[in-house]
Symmetry: C2
Subunit: 99 residues, 2 copies
């Protein structure tokens, strides 16, 4: 597999590692999202001052208001964080003189 | 770094591996997108019957119609493919009797 294919497989595997914990393997409950974020996004979570950060992230991402996230609802979290990281990457390269 | 952090770093690195080839490191030209897809998504590209698949993908993703993709415009390609792959993953698990 290529690096990008591996990356897409990782996204699916990470989602299901937590979503599969309860009976419903298609969605992340709040508890499962919290476990996923604590394990996979600890650095990001530390920057969140709001102690209810996971609650408000779930609320933002939960399109159909069922208090759970399916894979499609989960992906914008990865997209949003990747975009923020890419902006830092570009700024860093600008500062260090890379094109 | 965690698996998800590695994955987001990969997305940024893959994008810039190709976007940085010409003078403008912030965007993928059609030529750069074609190289990226040939190297990183060969299996997907083989399933496309349209010989101008890359052209039509670029057109679909190019929100601001500048004939180039910035990182934000590129990400929906990864999201769309990941969602398609996840549907296959769920079907496969259903067939093989996993929850």
């Amino acid at each position: 597999m290529t690096e990008l294919e591996n990356c897409m497989e990782s996204l699916i595997k990470i989602f299901h590692r937590y979503a599969d914990e309860d009976g419903d393997a298609t969605t992340l409950t709040k508890k499962e999202l919290k476990k996923l974020m604590e394990a996979e996004l600890p650095t990001f979570l530390k920057t969140q001052k709001n102690p209810k950060a996971v609650d408000s992230i779930l609320k933002d991402l939960d399109q159909n208001k069922d208090d759970k996230l399916d894979f499609e609802e989960f992906l914008p979290l990865v997209v949003g964080l990747s975009m923020a990281c890419e902006k830092c990457y570009m700024l860093h390269n600008k500062k260090t003189g890379k094109k």
